[in-house]
Symmetry: C2
């Protein structure tokens, strides 16, 4: 029996990681596929937990050897998802969560159209800007880049299966969890 | 904006009504479309709440005037769902629950393929038999008829969107609720 692949996207700062981490505490049998990145860690980020931090050289080599099921350059930084780990889990009937950007998600969708694609959106772009500034980890220039990207990512919502508007963290977690429970009893 | 149509089926005695009633207490914005039937009320059943109890003559007249979106003879008794009430709710953006047998559900699916079809199954046929006998409302002959029908209904699971196995009432209600929450944020 094959596991279910859940793919979450949403603009930077929307709260994807928080939601994903909390839901994983409450839902058994979910595996999170840690992404690779060639960017430098942000304060508080741990190698092997938040990302595998590798050099640009290593990243490009992995990419050229087909080790990524998806990869993308987002806000100028490289991100990718290892194919091997994810496929092993799915084959063993474990459900897998990927947390990736819209470009990456659409690459995954080409190979795994049966995946469940969830978009987490901010209540408004204005609120997203406030959250990004409140996070205090990025220069204003980077924040503006993230906002511009957010605007274009929101256009892709129609390519997803579910839209969760993160206006209240507890409600968002409950909704995300409901999607997982529902998809587990969906007849395929 | 149009509401979502949820259709629940499952063998007699599986606990459909209990689950549906409990979920309706916890989920706002759900309307239950009370079915019409030409059978006599069982102990505890109230006209207008559990069913609209009408004579066979009235039922057949309504049927011939196209007032039912679905109708079926189940265990020898006539059941039908009024089209008008259901459509009015859906048009007003309210989500509607129908609790109908497999034949009726498939008639509805022809007209509302966008409906969400949920099958509630017993953990086993043996357990279903125990529940039907425990209910103490039916003759052994009727129970055997229900069991035979259950067996053939289980063949139709593949025509449904979700399968919920009612092995634990609380879990079944939580799963049903999760399906409703998830479908409400599904992108259509």
């Amino acid at each position: 029996m094959s596991g279910i692949l859940f793919v979450i996207s949403g603009p930077s700062g929307v709260g994807k990681s928080t939601v994903r981490k909390e839901v994983m505490k409450r839902c058994k049998g979910l595996r999170y596929s840690v992404s690779y990145t060639a960017r430098t860690p942000r304060p508080g980020e741990t190698n092997g937990v938040d990302y595998y931090f590798v050099s640009e050289g290593t990243f490009l080599e992995m990419r050229d050897q087909g080790e990524f099921i998806e990869w993308a350059r987002v806000h100028g930084n490289l991100y990718g998802t290892s194919r091997r780990q994810m496929e092993e889990w799915l084959e063993n009937g474990l459900d897998v969560i990927l947390e990736i950007d819209v470009q990456g998600a659409m690459q995954v969708k080409m190979n795994y159209p049966q995946g469940i694609f969830i978009f987490i959106a901010p209540p408004s772009l204005k609120e997203l800007g406030q959250r990004l500034r409140g996070r205090n980890t990025d220069e204003e220039e980077v924040i503006l880049l993230r906002m511009t990207n957010a605007q274009s990512e929101l256009q892709s919502i129609r390519d997803y299966d579910y839209l969760i508007v993160n206006d209240d963290l507890n409600r968002t977690m409950a909704t995300f969890r409901a999607v997982i429970i529902a998809e587990r009893c969906r007849i395929r």
